[in-house]
């Protein structure tokens, strides 16, 4: 059955949003951003929710380090940013039960504050535990937000208008949550048109951490190689960064996992080169990328070659 919310319920739901004004969360705004940046409006909406969720996680920020694809976007020029789905974090809390307790406490705070609510028994604004991956040490949470685009989710047997964002927190990297933590404002392209009520200052992984993580993510033959990781490397390696720090992080990971750090870089460079042959598929991926990035993808093969060279230069 499809659940429809009354006007009062919709108003109540939107009043739980702290960072954005009601008029900024309108389809008009998302479409305006689509015209300017070239990313579909429904994907743009996600970036608004990402900012809001990061704000909600602030009480835990001493234990968290923002990482992954969404974090990469916070460093790069708005015109080169891309849409991303999940929010990923490392944590200094190594014991999963300790982390779950912290999240539970946060849920209680959000409920008391009126941010986490239940409307027609559908929970919004809670960090709902979904699963734990013991091997990777990741706890997966879902954070349900309202959808302004008529997207529906199946919740306890009913279809409700909602958009859930996956929040993944990795406990196993507590030994090295980041080689350098950067406490800085979150900066997404949406902020060029919609100024948030409050700047969200959150601990980010450094550019060096992100490059090292993406090098790990683009290792050959893992079956996890993806366009978005290659693209992120392409843009990250154009930023100013400290190559020694990248190498240090890779060396630490290699020592922990009994690998050769140079081999990690060679493997990543090989993956990036191989992706260079997939220019046609890359054009499909370009729909998720802002206009500057779309231009970059037009020269995909050359971009991949340059990126692979830069990965190998870091090795030297």
């Amino acid at each position: 059955m499809r659940i429809s919310f009354s006007v009062e319920e919709k108003t109540k739901l939107l009043s739980t949003i702290h960072i954005w004004r009601r008029d900024q969360l309108a389809q008009d705004m998302f479409r305006k951003l689509q015209v300017k940046y070239g990313i579909p409006a429904y994907l743009t909406e996600t970036m608004f929710w990402h900012m809001e969720i990061l704000y909600r996680l602030l009480p835990l920020c001493e234990f968290l380090v923002f990482k992954g694809g969404t974090c990469v976007q916070s460093y790069i020029d708005p015109m080169f940013q891309r849409a991303s789905n999940d929010l990923d974090f490392n944590t200094t809390i190594q014991n999963p039960n300790a982390l779950m307790q912290k999240i539970e406490n946060l849920n209680n705070q959000l409920k008391t504050r009126g941010t986490a609510v239940e409307i027609q028994e559908v929970p919004y604004g809670f960090f709902e535990f979904e699963s734990a991956d013991r091997v990777s040490g990741t706890l997966n949470y879902r954070h349900r937000m309202p959808s302004r685009f008529g997207e529906y989710e199946h919740v306890t047997g009913n279809d409700v208008q909602a958009k859930s964002i996956r929040v993944q927190i990795n406990c196993k990297h507590a030994w090295l949550p980041a080689i350098k933590k950067v406490v800085k404002p979150v900066e997404f392209f949406i902020m060029e048109e919609a100024v948030p009520r409050e700047v969200v200052i959150f601990p980010h992984s450094s550019i060096e951490d992100l490059i090292a993580d993406k090098i790990m993510a683009t290792e050959e033959h893992t079956g996890r190689e993806r366009f978005k990781d290659v693209y992120d490397l392409m843009v990250l390696l154009n930023l100013d960064f400290n190559g020694t720090l990248v190498n240090n992080k890779l060396a630490l990971i290699a020592r922990k996992t009994g690998r050769d750090p140079a081999e990690l870089q060679r493997s990543s460079a090989n993956t990036v080169m191989a992706f260079g042959d997939r220019g046609n598929e890359a054009q499909g991926f370009a729909s998720m990328v802002c206009r500057g990035g779309k231009e970059l993808i037009k020269d995909w093969e050359i971009g991949c070659e340059k990126t692979a060279r830069k990965i190998l230069q870091a090795e030297e």
């Binding site: 234990f63 200094t92 809390i93 190594q94 014991n95 999963p96 039960n97 300790a98 982390l99 307790q101 912290k102 507590a174």
Partner: protein, 289 residues
């Protein structure tokens, strides 16, 4: 059933274990002494075990007993007895068992955490303070309790008298603290709280130990530069024990005549709570001479 006849009583198991360990045949009197069983009981059990073919009697002047190598289960029986004697003998064995039983739902705190990075000056038998998540306590406690039935391990109880070769103190806790880390402790991977939290638990919680041990851990960690003073104070504040911690640190500075803990005048004015001055002097003498 044969196994019931062989292992049916505690006395039989003790007799068989003593014989499996012995390099030579033993008399009935020696067996009774070694196992702490009465003479009559020993005699009765021995006769039955001879009847089953498990034991063999040799008479060379005096009657002596040994496991009969002709008994079809002799090798298995001897292996089982000897290997069971070795099982869970060491602190490492116990820690591995704790971790296996409790999974992610526990941590080692108090003295275990406080002393994880220092070499204790005074010898103490191993004591492990295990905090188990409240929600799992009911399920896990019986699994741990059985370990206390082993000869070398004791589970702490009020008025328990002497500690065991290894003692476990089990508490229920509301939550696992965020600074609990997977650490290599005596070569075994276990969940251990931070040094700072360990010391605060020793000082602020009721434990079966004298304050001396807690003071000793505090000073040794400080002198070894292991203690993060800022984090220590922050934690103490969170746990509601900052005034007493400040009081202890002030007293250390005062008695040692040195700024060991860099306590400010403002912190001194906030210090409050019971401090055992005599034990602090004792600790300073022990560690600093």
């Amino acid at each position: 059933m044969m196994l019931e006849l062989i292992f049916g009583t505690k006395t039989r198991i003790k007799l068989l274990y003593a014989l499996a360990q012995s390099s030579k045949p033993l008399t009935r009197n020696e067996l009774a002494k070694m196992t702490g069983s009465g003479m009559r009981g020993t005699y009765e059990q021995v006769e039955e075990l001879i009847g089953l073919g498990v034991l063999k009697e040799s008479v060379n002047g005096r009657s002596r007993l040994a496991l009969d190598p002709e008994f079809p289960l002799h090798d298995n029986l001897r292996d089982l007895l000897l290997s069971s004697g070795e099982y869970l003998r060491t602190p490492q064995d116990l820690l591995a068992a704790l971790d296996r039983i409790c999974g992610d739902n526990y941590y080692l705190g108090s003295f275990t955490a406080a002393r994880q990075n220092i070499s204790p000056i005074d010898y103490d038998p191993p004591v492990y303070a295990v905090s188990i998540l409240k929600d799992h306590y009911k399920r896990l406690y019986p699994r741990l309790r059985v370990l206390g039935k082993l000869a070398n391990i004791k589970l702490y109880e009020k008025n328990m008298g002497e500690a065991g070769d290894i003692t476990i103190i089990i508490n229920a806790c509301e939550s696992i603290p965020p600074d609990v880390m997977r650490s290599d402790f005596l070569g075994v991977e276990v969940w251990v709280a931070s040094v700072e939290r360990g010391i605060i638990e020793c000082l602020a919680r009721e434990t079966p130990f004298a304050l001396y041990g807690a003071y000793l851990a505090l000073l040794q960690n400080r002198l070894d530069n292991v203690l993060d003073i800022a984090y220590f104070k922050k934690l103490a504040d969170e746990e509601g024990s900052l005034p007493v911690i400040q009081s202890i640190m002030s007293k250390f500075d005062e008695i040692a005549g040195k700024r060991l803990f860099e306590i400010t005048e403002e912190e001194k004015s906030m210090a409050e709570g019971m401090v055992d001055e005599k034990e602090i002097r004792h600790v300073i003498n022990t560690v600093m001479g």
